[in-house]
Amino acid sequence: MKEEWISQFIDDELTLDEKIAFVGTVHEDSPFREECLDLLRQEKRLREPPSRDVPMPALSPRPRRSLLSFRPLQWALVLLVAGVALVLARNLSPPAKEANVPYRFVVYQPGADRVEIAGTFTGWERVSLNRSGNSGYWEIVLSLPPVEHRYTYVIDGERTMSDPTVPGRERDDFGGENSIIPPGGMA
Protein backbone atom coordinates (compact mmCIF):
# COMPACT_ATOMS: atom_id res chain seq x y z
CA MET A 1 0.00 0.00 0.00
CA LYS A 2 2.70 2.43 1.02
CA GLU A 3 4.69 1.79 -2.15
CA GLU A 4 1.70 2.60 -4.31
CA TRP A 5 1.51 6.01 -2.68
CA ILE A 6 4.40 6.97 -4.93
CA SER A 7 2.40 6.40 -8.09
CA GLN A 8 -0.67 7.95 -6.50
CA PHE A 9 1.45 10.99 -5.65
CA ILE A 10 2.77 11.17 -9.22
CA ASP A 11 -0.73 10.83 -10.65
CA ASP A 12 -2.29 13.20 -8.12
CA GLU A 13 -4.49 10.50 -6.67
CA LEU A 14 -3.73 10.86 -2.96
CA THR A 15 -6.35 12.02 -0.51
CA LEU A 16 -5.39 14.72 1.98
CA ASP A 17 -4.84 12.15 4.74
CA GLU A 18 -2.72 10.02 2.41
CA LYS A 19 -0.67 13.08 1.50
CA ILE A 20 0.09 13.67 5.19
CA ALA A 21 1.16 10.06 5.61
CA PHE A 22 3.13 10.16 2.38
CA VAL A 23 5.14 13.23 3.35
CA GLY A 24 5.83 11.70 6.76
CA THR A 25 7.10 8.52 5.15
CA VAL A 26 9.31 10.42 2.72
CA HIS A 27 10.79 12.25 5.69
CA GLU A 28 11.43 9.14 7.77
CA ASP A 29 12.15 6.34 5.28
CA SER A 30 15.29 6.84 3.21
CA PRO A 31 14.81 3.92 0.75
CA PHE A 32 11.23 5.08 0.18
CA ARG A 33 12.49 8.59 -0.50
CA GLU A 34 15.07 7.30 -2.98
CA GLU A 35 12.44 5.28 -4.81
CA CYS A 36 10.23 8.36 -4.97
CA LEU A 37 13.03 10.35 -6.53
CA ASP A 38 13.87 7.55 -8.96
CA LEU A 39 10.30 7.25 -10.18
CA LEU A 40 9.82 11.01 -10.36
CA ARG A 41 12.91 11.34 -12.55
CA GLN A 42 11.66 8.48 -14.68
CA GLU A 43 8.29 10.17 -14.95
CA LYS A 44 9.90 13.20 -16.51
CA ARG A 45 11.26 11.00 -19.29
CA LEU A 46 8.03 9.06 -19.57
CA ARG A 47 5.81 12.11 -19.92
CA GLU A 48 8.03 13.80 -22.45
CA PRO A 49 6.02 13.77 -25.71
CA PRO A 50 7.55 11.02 -27.87
CA SER A 51 7.17 13.11 -30.99
CA ARG A 52 7.25 16.82 -31.68
CA ASP A 53 4.67 16.63 -34.42
CA VAL A 54 1.17 15.33 -34.15
CA PRO A 55 -0.71 14.42 -37.32
CA MET A 56 -3.94 16.17 -38.15
CA PRO A 57 -5.82 13.46 -40.02
CA ALA A 58 -8.49 14.44 -42.46
CA LEU A 59 -11.64 12.42 -42.19
CA SER A 60 -15.19 13.03 -43.06
CA PRO A 61 -17.46 14.94 -45.35
CA ARG A 62 -19.98 17.69 -45.49
CA PRO A 63 -22.72 19.06 -47.71
CA ARG A 64 -21.87 19.86 -51.25
CA ARG A 65 -22.40 22.92 -53.33
CA SER A 66 -23.80 22.12 -56.75
CA LEU A 67 -23.19 24.49 -59.62
CA LEU A 68 -26.57 23.54 -61.05
CA SER A 69 -28.29 24.83 -57.97
CA PHE A 70 -27.04 28.40 -58.44
CA ARG A 71 -29.81 30.92 -58.89
CA PRO A 72 -29.70 33.42 -61.81
CA LEU A 73 -28.61 36.28 -59.56
CA GLN A 74 -25.77 34.19 -58.27
CA TRP A 75 -24.71 33.30 -61.81
CA ALA A 76 -24.68 37.01 -62.64
CA LEU A 77 -22.48 37.65 -59.63
CA VAL A 78 -20.16 34.84 -60.61
CA LEU A 79 -19.82 36.23 -64.14
CA LEU A 80 -19.20 39.73 -62.80
CA VAL A 81 -16.49 38.51 -60.46
CA ALA A 82 -14.98 36.43 -63.25
CA GLY A 83 -14.91 39.47 -65.55
CA VAL A 84 -13.22 41.64 -62.94
CA ALA A 85 -10.73 38.87 -62.28
CA LEU A 86 -9.97 38.61 -65.98
CA VAL A 87 -9.31 42.34 -66.27
CA LEU A 88 -7.08 42.28 -63.22
CA ALA A 89 -5.23 39.27 -64.54
CA ARG A 90 -4.42 41.11 -67.76
CA ASN A 91 -3.21 44.25 -66.04
CA LEU A 92 -1.35 42.97 -63.06
CA SER A 93 1.80 40.94 -63.04
CA PRO A 94 1.15 37.53 -61.52
CA PRO A 95 2.32 36.99 -57.94
CA ALA A 96 5.01 34.47 -57.23
CA LYS A 97 3.39 31.05 -57.13
CA GLU A 98 3.92 28.91 -54.03
CA ALA A 99 4.78 25.26 -54.51
CA ASN A 100 1.98 22.74 -54.17
CA VAL A 101 1.92 20.42 -51.18
CA PRO A 102 0.25 16.99 -50.86
CA TYR A 103 -3.05 16.87 -48.98
CA ARG A 104 -4.42 13.45 -47.99
CA PHE A 105 -8.18 13.24 -47.75
CA VAL A 106 -9.53 10.16 -45.98
CA VAL A 107 -13.07 9.23 -45.08
CA TYR A 108 -14.52 6.13 -43.45
CA GLN A 109 -17.52 4.93 -45.45
CA PRO A 110 -17.60 1.11 -45.37
CA GLY A 111 -21.08 0.92 -46.88
CA ALA A 112 -20.52 3.28 -49.78
CA ASP A 113 -20.14 2.23 -53.40
CA ARG A 114 -18.69 5.56 -54.44
CA VAL A 115 -17.11 8.44 -52.57
CA GLU A 116 -16.15 11.71 -54.19
CA ILE A 117 -14.75 15.03 -53.12
CA ALA A 118 -15.71 18.42 -54.48
CA GLY A 119 -14.15 21.70 -53.49
CA THR A 120 -12.61 24.97 -54.46
CA PHE A 121 -9.59 23.08 -55.74
CA THR A 122 -11.69 21.04 -58.16
CA GLY A 123 -13.92 23.92 -59.26
CA TRP A 124 -16.61 22.06 -57.28
CA GLU A 125 -16.42 19.22 -59.77
CA ARG A 126 -16.55 15.81 -58.17
CA VAL A 127 -13.36 13.75 -58.05
CA SER A 128 -13.49 10.11 -57.00
CA LEU A 129 -11.66 8.81 -53.95
CA ASN A 130 -10.00 5.40 -54.05
CA ARG A 131 -11.22 2.57 -51.88
CA SER A 132 -8.52 1.47 -49.42
CA GLY A 133 -8.76 -2.32 -49.61
CA ASN A 134 -11.48 -3.72 -47.38
CA SER A 135 -10.81 -1.29 -44.55
CA GLY A 136 -13.88 0.84 -45.23
CA TYR A 137 -11.68 3.88 -45.87
CA TRP A 138 -11.61 5.91 -49.04
CA GLU A 139 -8.76 8.22 -49.77
CA ILE A 140 -7.09 10.48 -52.26
CA VAL A 141 -3.93 12.55 -52.21
CA LEU A 142 -4.13 15.84 -54.06
CA SER A 143 -1.31 18.25 -54.72
CA LEU A 144 -2.66 21.66 -53.81
CA PRO A 145 -1.31 25.15 -53.27
CA PRO A 146 -0.92 26.15 -49.60
CA VAL A 147 -3.93 28.44 -49.58
CA GLU A 148 -7.34 28.17 -48.00
CA HIS A 149 -9.43 25.31 -49.39
CA ARG A 150 -13.12 24.52 -49.02
CA TYR A 151 -14.62 21.17 -49.81
CA THR A 152 -17.19 18.49 -49.13
CA TYR A 153 -17.46 14.74 -49.62
CA VAL A 154 -20.22 13.22 -51.72
CA ILE A 155 -21.36 9.72 -50.83
CA ASP A 156 -22.86 7.55 -53.56
CA GLY A 157 -23.49 10.62 -55.68
CA GLU A 158 -26.20 11.96 -53.40
CA ARG A 159 -25.38 12.48 -49.77
CA THR A 160 -22.91 15.18 -48.81
CA MET A 161 -20.85 15.02 -45.68
CA SER A 162 -18.51 17.46 -43.94
CA ASP A 163 -15.15 16.58 -42.48
CA PRO A 164 -15.47 16.02 -38.71
CA THR A 165 -11.77 16.46 -38.10
CA VAL A 166 -11.61 19.85 -39.73
CA PRO A 167 -13.01 22.38 -37.27
CA GLY A 168 -13.28 25.23 -39.74
CA ARG A 169 -16.66 25.32 -41.47
CA GLU A 170 -18.93 27.63 -43.34
CA ARG A 171 -22.54 27.35 -44.23
CA ASP A 172 -23.15 27.47 -47.93
CA ASP A 173 -26.17 29.03 -49.54
CA PHE A 174 -27.97 25.75 -49.92
CA GLY A 175 -28.37 24.50 -46.41
CA GLY A 176 -25.10 22.63 -46.21
CA GLU A 177 -21.70 23.16 -44.74
CA ASN A 178 -18.28 23.28 -46.32
CA SER A 179 -15.11 22.32 -44.48
CA ILE A 180 -12.35 24.88 -44.54
CA ILE A 181 -8.66 24.12 -44.47
CA PRO A 182 -6.72 27.28 -43.63
CA PRO A 183 -3.71 28.39 -45.67
CA GLY A 184 -0.79 26.12 -44.94
CA GLY A 185 -2.96 23.20 -43.86
CA MET A 186 -4.14 22.01 -40.47
CA ALA A 187 -0.86 21.28 -38.67
Binding site: S51, R52, L59
Partner: protein, 160 residues
Protein backbone atom coordinates in the same frame (compact mmCIF):
# COMPACT_ATOMS: atom_id res chain seq x y z
CA UNK B 1 -17.45 32.76 -43.18
CA UNK B 2 -15.86 30.63 -40.52
CA UNK B 3 -18.30 29.48 -37.90
CA UNK B 4 -17.62 28.45 -34.34
CA UNK B 5 -15.74 25.19 -34.06
CA UNK B 6 -18.26 23.75 -31.67
CA UNK B 7 -17.69 21.29 -28.85
CA UNK B 8 -16.34 18.51 -31.01
CA UNK B 9 -13.91 20.73 -32.91
CA UNK B 10 -12.47 22.02 -29.64
CA UNK B 11 -12.42 18.51 -28.21
CA UNK B 12 -10.54 17.23 -31.25
CA UNK B 13 -7.95 19.97 -31.18
CA UNK B 14 -7.48 19.61 -27.43
CA UNK B 15 -7.07 15.85 -27.28
CA UNK B 16 -5.65 14.59 -30.58
CA UNK B 17 -2.11 15.13 -29.27
CA UNK B 18 -2.52 13.10 -26.09
CA UNK B 19 -4.42 10.37 -27.91
CA UNK B 20 -1.69 10.16 -30.55
CA UNK B 21 0.99 9.91 -27.88
CA UNK B 22 -0.98 7.24 -26.02
CA UNK B 23 -1.17 5.23 -29.25
CA UNK B 24 2.51 5.79 -29.93
CA UNK B 25 3.39 4.55 -26.46
CA UNK B 26 1.20 1.51 -27.02
CA UNK B 27 2.45 0.63 -30.50
CA UNK B 28 5.88 2.22 -30.90
CA UNK B 29 4.83 2.86 -34.50
CA UNK B 30 4.12 6.43 -35.58
CA UNK B 31 2.44 5.54 -38.89
CA UNK B 32 0.15 3.00 -37.22
CA UNK B 33 -0.62 5.48 -34.45
CA UNK B 34 -1.62 8.07 -37.03
CA UNK B 35 -4.00 5.60 -38.70
CA UNK B 36 -5.50 4.63 -35.35
CA UNK B 37 -5.86 8.27 -34.34
CA UNK B 38 -7.87 8.88 -37.46
CA UNK B 39 -9.93 5.76 -37.02
CA UNK B 40 -10.66 6.60 -33.39
CA UNK B 41 -12.11 10.01 -34.16
CA UNK B 42 -14.01 8.60 -37.13
CA UNK B 43 -15.56 5.85 -35.02
CA UNK B 44 -16.38 8.39 -32.34
CA UNK B 45 -18.27 10.56 -34.79
CA UNK B 46 -19.95 7.67 -36.54
CA UNK B 47 -21.27 6.18 -33.33
CA UNK B 48 -21.71 9.07 -30.95
CA UNK B 49 -21.91 12.21 -33.05
CA UNK B 50 -20.63 15.57 -32.01
CA UNK B 51 -22.54 16.15 -28.82
CA UNK B 52 -20.87 16.06 -25.41
CA UNK B 53 -17.67 14.21 -26.31
CA UNK B 54 -15.80 12.81 -23.30
CA UNK B 55 -12.19 11.81 -22.89
CA UNK B 56 -12.84 8.36 -21.34
CA UNK B 57 -15.12 7.50 -24.26
CA UNK B 58 -12.50 8.64 -26.76
CA UNK B 59 -9.85 6.47 -25.12
CA UNK B 60 -12.23 3.53 -24.93
CA UNK B 61 -12.83 3.80 -28.67
CA UNK B 62 -9.12 4.20 -29.38
CA UNK B 63 -8.25 1.11 -27.32
CA UNK B 64 -10.90 -0.89 -29.13
CA UNK B 65 -9.52 0.26 -32.48
CA UNK B 66 -6.03 -0.70 -31.37
CA UNK B 67 -7.04 -4.11 -30.07
CA UNK B 68 -9.09 -4.75 -33.23
CA UNK B 69 -5.99 -3.99 -35.23
CA UNK B 70 -3.86 -6.31 -33.14
CA UNK B 71 -6.39 -9.12 -33.34
CA UNK B 72 -6.31 -8.92 -37.11
CA UNK B 73 -2.53 -8.68 -37.26
CA UNK B 74 -1.45 -11.28 -34.72
CA UNK B 75 1.26 -12.15 -33.98
CA UNK B 76 2.31 -8.79 -32.64
CA UNK B 77 5.41 -7.28 -34.10
CA UNK B 78 8.16 -7.55 -31.56
CA UNK B 79 11.66 -6.28 -31.07
CA UNK B 80 11.29 -3.12 -33.14
CA UNK B 81 9.99 -0.49 -30.79
CA UNK B 82 12.20 2.06 -32.40
CA UNK B 83 9.46 4.54 -33.02
CA UNK B 84 10.15 4.61 -36.72
CA UNK B 85 7.26 5.57 -38.89
CA UNK B 86 7.01 2.16 -40.44
CA UNK B 87 6.19 3.66 -43.81
CA UNK B 88 8.11 3.35 -47.03
CA UNK B 89 9.39 6.86 -46.68
CA UNK B 90 9.92 7.80 -43.04
CA UNK B 91 10.84 11.32 -44.03
CA UNK B 92 7.21 12.00 -44.82
CA UNK B 93 5.88 10.82 -41.47
CA UNK B 94 5.95 11.87 -37.87
CA UNK B 95 9.44 11.58 -36.47
CA UNK B 96 9.86 10.14 -33.00
CA UNK B 97 12.29 12.04 -30.84
CA UNK B 98 15.58 10.25 -30.50
CA UNK B 99 15.60 10.56 -26.72
CA UNK B 100 12.11 9.02 -26.50
CA UNK B 101 13.01 5.81 -28.28
CA UNK B 102 14.59 4.15 -25.25
CA UNK B 103 11.42 4.81 -23.28
CA UNK B 104 9.26 3.44 -26.10
CA UNK B 105 11.42 0.33 -26.33
CA UNK B 106 11.15 -0.24 -22.60
CA UNK B 107 7.38 0.30 -22.69
CA UNK B 108 7.20 -2.20 -25.53
CA UNK B 109 8.60 -4.93 -23.31
CA UNK B 110 6.03 -4.42 -20.56
CA UNK B 111 3.04 -6.76 -20.51
CA UNK B 112 0.30 -5.32 -22.69
CA UNK B 113 -2.10 -4.57 -19.83
CA UNK B 114 0.53 -2.76 -17.78
CA UNK B 115 1.73 -0.78 -20.78
CA UNK B 116 -1.87 0.18 -21.44
CA UNK B 117 -2.61 1.35 -17.90
CA UNK B 118 0.64 3.25 -17.53
CA UNK B 119 0.21 4.89 -20.93
CA UNK B 120 -3.31 5.96 -20.00
CA UNK B 121 -2.05 7.41 -16.71
CA UNK B 122 0.82 9.39 -18.18
CA UNK B 123 -0.82 10.47 -21.40
CA UNK B 124 -4.49 11.05 -21.15
CA UNK B 125 -5.00 13.09 -18.04
CA UNK B 126 -7.43 10.43 -16.88
CA UNK B 127 -8.06 9.75 -13.20
CA UNK B 128 -7.69 6.24 -11.82
CA UNK B 129 -11.47 6.06 -11.68
CA UNK B 130 -11.69 6.95 -15.38
CA UNK B 131 -8.93 4.50 -16.26
CA UNK B 132 -10.85 1.83 -14.35
CA UNK B 133 -13.93 2.62 -16.43
CA UNK B 134 -11.96 2.55 -19.68
CA UNK B 135 -10.13 -0.69 -18.86
CA UNK B 136 -12.92 -2.55 -17.08
CA UNK B 137 -10.77 -3.08 -13.98
CA UNK B 138 -11.43 -2.00 -10.42
CA UNK B 139 -9.89 1.25 -9.26
CA UNK B 140 -7.80 -0.63 -6.71
CA UNK B 141 -6.49 -2.95 -9.37
CA UNK B 142 -5.61 0.00 -11.59
CA UNK B 143 -3.64 1.60 -8.76
CA UNK B 144 -1.64 -1.57 -8.08
CA UNK B 145 -0.90 -2.31 -11.72
CA UNK B 146 0.16 1.21 -12.61
CA UNK B 147 2.69 1.25 -9.82
CA UNK B 148 3.91 -2.22 -10.76
CA UNK B 149 4.36 -1.02 -14.34
CA UNK B 150 6.36 2.00 -13.21
CA UNK B 151 8.73 -0.16 -11.19
CA UNK B 152 9.20 -2.62 -14.03
CA UNK B 153 9.88 0.24 -16.39
CA UNK B 154 12.51 1.61 -14.03
CA UNK B 155 14.27 -1.76 -14.01
CA UNK B 156 14.08 -1.99 -17.81
CA UNK B 157 15.48 1.49 -18.31
CA UNK B 158 18.34 0.72 -15.93
CA UNK B 159 19.30 -2.17 -18.20
CA UNK B 160 19.46 0.05 -21.28
Amino acid sequence: MLIAMGDFGSFYLRHRKELFHYLLRMTGDAALSEDLLQESFTRFLDRYGREDPTLPLLFTIARNALFDHWRKRRPLPSGDWSGETGGENPEEGVIVREEARAVLRALGTLPEDERDLLSLAVTGGLSYREIAAVSGLSEGNVKVRIHRARRKLRDLLREE
